[in-house]
C-alpha cells in the first residue's frame, strides 16, 4: 500500500460556512494523529473519508479508493470506532460484534468465529455474553474497538478512544493501539483532544483549525526544534546556590513559569558555545557537600513537546476556536 490517505483540493461547505478545506495532503501508512480544537472540522473530515458525507469540491482517497465514489470499498477495508456510543440495543457484545462481521460480508459462522477471536484479543472474556448497554465504559470502549477490527481492516479510525477510561484503562487502550500497528501492521488514524495520547502512539499528526489543515508531518520533525545547547533541568534544594555555580561557568539559568503562586519546577539552562553537559556535571559536583544543598534531579534536552507545537501552530493559524 503506497499512500494511506490523500486529499486533493477537498472542500466542504455548509451554505457559506467553510467546514473543511485542504489543498493537498498525503499521509503515509503509520499511526496518524488528528488534532484540532472543537469545530475545527475533524468530524467533517472523518465523515468525508468514510463516505458518509459528500464533499462540496475536490476528492479524497482512502487506501487508494475514492472516498465518495467507492465508498463501499473504503468501508469494507476501514474500521471505525466512533466517539459516542453507537450500539444496537438488546444485543450482547458477541452478537453485536458478529453482526458487524456479517454486515461486512462474512457468513454468520465466520463472523462469529472471528468475533470470538477479536474479543479474546481485547481481553473481553465473560463480558462478551452480556448486554452491551449494561457494561462499564471500559468494556464498551473495547466492544467498539472490536467491531472496528472485525473485518481485519488495513486502516482503523479511532475517535477519542480513551474517553471515559480510568488511567489504567487508558494506558491499556493506548498500548493496544500501539500493538495493532506494531504487531498487526495496521495503520491508525487517531483523533483526540489529549495530546498526551497522540504523543505516545502517533508517528505523524495532522493539525486542523477552523476547517483548514495548518500542519501535517512526522511528530519528530514538528518537535525537533531542540536547541543544541539548551537543556531543561529540575533542581532540588537552593536555587540561588545553583544559579551562582552555573553562572560562574558561563551557563545561563532561566526559570519556566509554573502555576500561579507556586515556585517554578523547571529551568532552562543555556550552555556557552562549544560546551556540553559535562559543564553542568562539573557545576553540580562542585556543590556536593556544601550547604545549602543544591542537587540536580532531572536533565533532558530542551525540546518542544507536542503541546507547545500545537499551541504555536493553532495560535499562528488564526487564533483558537470559538467553541469548546
Amino acid at each position: 500500500m503506497s499512500e494511506l490517505i490523500r486529499l486533493e483540493k477537498l472542500k466542504r461547505l455548509y451554505g457559506a460556512h467553510l467546514a473543511f478545506e485542504a489543498d493537498e495532503v498525503v499521509l503515509q501508512p503509520g499511526v496518524v494523529g488528528l488534532l484540532g480544537p472543537n469545530g475545527a472540522g475533524k468530524s467533517t473530515l472523518l465523515n468525508m473519508l468514510m463516505g458518509l458525507l459528500a464533499p462540496s469540491a475536490g476528492r479524497a482517497w482512502m487506501l487508494g479508493f475514492d472516498a465518495a465514489r467507492e465508498s463501499r470499498k473504503v468501508r469494507s477495508r476501514v474500521g471505525y470506532m466512533p466517539e459516542n456510543d453507537s450500539f444496537v440495543a438488546g444485543l450482547s457484545v458477541l452478537q453485536f460484534v458478529s453482526l458487524a462481521g456479517e454486515l461486512c460480508g462474512q457468513k454468520a459462522v465466520d463472523a462469529r468465529r472471528r468475533a470470538h477471536e477479536v474479543l479474546s484479543l481485547l481481553g473481553l472474556e465473560e463480558a462478551r455474553y452480556r448486554l452491551i448497554e449494561e457494561q462499564s465504559t471500559g468494556i464498551r470502549q473495547r466492544a467498539k474497538l472490536a467491531q472496528a477490527l472485525i473485518n481485519d481492516p488495513d486502516l482503523v479510525i479511532l475517535d477519542e478512544p480513551t474517553n471515559g477510561l480510568d488511567p489504567a484503562g487508558r494506558s491499556a487502550m493506548l498500548e493496544l493501539i500501539s500493538r495493532l500497528h506494531r504487531e498487526q501492521g495496521k495503520s491508525i488514524l487517531l483523533s483526540s483532544h489529549l495530546l498526551g495520547d497522540v504523543e505516545r502512539v502517533c508517528d505523524s499528526v495532522v493539525i486542523l483549525d477552523r476547517g483548514r489543515v495548518l500542519a501535517h508531518g512526522a511528530v519528530s520533525e514538528l518537535t525537533s526544534s531542540s536547541l543544541r545547547n539548551s537543556y531543561r533541568i529540575q533542581v532540588t534544594g537552593s536555587v540561588e546556590a545553583c544559579g551562582k555555580l552555573l553562572r560562574a561557568r558561563g551557563v545561563g539559568l532561566e526559570a519556566i513559569p509554573a502555576r500561579a503562586g507556586a515556585p517554578p519546577r523547571d529551568y532552562i539552562v543555556t550552555l556557552p558555545p562549544g560546551a556540553d553537559t559535562r559543564l553542568l556535571l562539573e557545576a553540580f559536583s562542585a556543590a556536593d557537600g556544601t550547604e545549602p544543598a543544591c542537587l540536580l534531579s532531572g536533565l533532558q534536552p530542551h525540546e518542544e513537546n507536542l503541546e507547545t507545537v500545537f499551541e504555536r501552530i493553532v495560535a499562528g493559524g488564526g487564533g483558537g476556536s470559538a467553541d469548546g
Binding site: 468501508r75 471505525y80 450500539f87 452478537q95 454486515l103 465466520d110 484479543l121 467491531q147 473485518n151 504487531e183
Partner: protein, 317 residues
C-alpha cells in the same frame, strides 16, 4: 578394576524436540472470507431485527391474540365441514347449512378478506412495538453510525427493516390466511376448490402482501420521523383509530364527501382487497385512481420520511 568410561549416547540425552509452542495471544488471523454477496447485506439487518422483536414478552401476547382469530376461523371451517358431512344426503338440514355457510364462512374472497381485516387491531399494536424496537431504538442508541460505517447502503438498511416487519405482519395475516385457504379446500371432496379459486388465492397473496409491506412501510416512515416510543404509538393510534372514526363520522353522519375516506389508511387497503378479490364495492367504484393515488401518497410520504431521517451524520450548523 578399571572402569570403562561411560558411553553417553547423545541421542538419548537430547531426544528430538517434541515441537513445543507457546501460542502468541497477540495474533489475529487474516481476514475471514467475505463470501456473502454484497447485495444481501440487508439480511443480517432483518434477522437481527426480527430476533429483537420476537424476544419481547409483549410480542407473544400479540401473537396470541392474533392466533385467537385464526383459531376461531379455523374452528368454524372445521365445524362447517363436519356439519356438511353429517347432513350429507339428508334433506333436512340443508337450509340451516346453507345459512351457516353464508353467514360464517363462505369460502369466497370476502371471508378471507374479513379474516385479514379482522386482524387489524393486533397488527397495529404489533407494528407499534416493532417500530419502537426496530427503528426507534436505532435512533436512540445511535445505531445508524454503526450500520453506515459498514459497507451497507441505505436502501439495504431499509430493506432489512422492511423485511423484518413484513414477516412479522405476515405471520398474523398472510400465512394464517393461506392456512385457512388450504384447510377449507381440504375439507371439500375434491381438489376442485383449489383450481376454481385461483382468483381467491391471488387475492389472499396480494392483499396479504399489501397489508404486510404497505403497513410496514408506513410504520418505518412514522418511526423514523418520531423516533420515540410514545410518540410512535400515539401517532400510530391516530392513523388507525382516530382517523377512521373521524372520517366515518364525517362521511356517514355529517354526509361529508366520500373523499374523506382517503384519509383512512386501513379502508384504502380494504378497497384494494376488494379489487384483488373481485368484490363489488360502492366506494370509489367509478374513480379507482383516487384510492390508488392516495395509497401511493401515504407510502411515498413514509418512504420520504424514512429516507431523509436515516442520515448517519447529524449536521449541526
Amino acid at each position: 578394576m578399571a572402569e570403562e568410561p561411560l558411553e553417553i549416547n547423545e541421542v538419548d540425552l537430547f531426544p528430538k524436540a517434541m515441537g513445543a509452542t507457546v501460542v502468541d495471544r497477540w495474533t489475529l488471523s487474516s481476514a475471514p472470507d467475505e463470501s456473502r454477496a454484497p447485495a444481501l447485506a440487508w439480511w443480517p439487518v432483518a434477522r437481527i431485527g426480527l430476533g429483537l422483536v420476537v424476544k419481547r414478552r409483549i410480542f407473544k401476547v400479540f401473537m396470541g391474540l392474533g392466533l385467537i382469530n385464526f383459531l376461531f376461523f379455523s374452528a368454524m371451517i372445521y365445524f362447517l365441514a363436519g356439519l356438511a358431512a353429517q347432513l350429507k344426503g339428508q334433506r333436512f338440514g340443508q337450509g340451516p347449512l346453507e345459512f351457516a355457510r353464508n353467514f360464517i364462512f363462505t369460502g369466497t374472497g370476502e371471508s378471507y378478506r374479513d379474516f385479514i381485516s379482522g386482524q387489524n387491531i393486533v397488527v397495529m399494536l404489533l407494528l407499534a412495538i416493532s417500530g419502537a424496537v426496530l427503528v426507534g431504538n436505532d435512533f436512540r442508541f445511535r445505531s445508524l453510525t454503526f450500520y453506515f460505517s459498514k459497507p451497507l447502503e441505505r436502501w439495504q438498511y431499509f430493506l432489512g427493516k422492511l423485511v423484518a416487519t413484513s414477516l412479522l405482519v405476515s405471520m398474523l395475516t398472510l400465512l394464517p390466511c393461506l392456512a385457512l385457504f388450504v384447510e377449507y379446500g381440504l375439507f371439500g371432496d375434491t381438489f376442485d376448490y383449489f383450481i376454481e379459486s385461483w382468483r381467491i388465492f391471488f387475492g389472499i397473496v396480494a392483499y396479504g402482501l399489501l397489508v404486510s409491506v404497505g403497513m410496514s412501510t408506513l410504520l418505518l416512515g412514522v418511526a423514523a420521523l418520531l423516533q420515540r416510543t410514545i410518540s410512535i404509538v400515539m401517532v400510530w393510534g391516530l392513523i388507525f383509530i382516530f382517523l377512521p372514526i373521524v372520517t366515518e363520522v364525517i362521511h356517514e353522519a355529517a354526509r361529508g364527501s366520500h373523499y374523506w375516506k382517503l384519509l383512512d389508511f386501513w379502508s384504502l387497503l380494504q378497497w384494494c382487497s376488494n379489487a384483488f378479490f373481485g368484490i363489488e364495492s360502492s366506494l370509489f367504484s367509478a374513480e379507482p385512481w383516487y384510492p390508488i393515488a392516495a395509497l401511493a401518497a401515504w407510502l411515498g410520504a413514509a418512504l420520504w420520511a424514512f429516507w431523509s431521517k436515516t442520515r448517519a451524520v447529524e449536521v449541526v450548523s
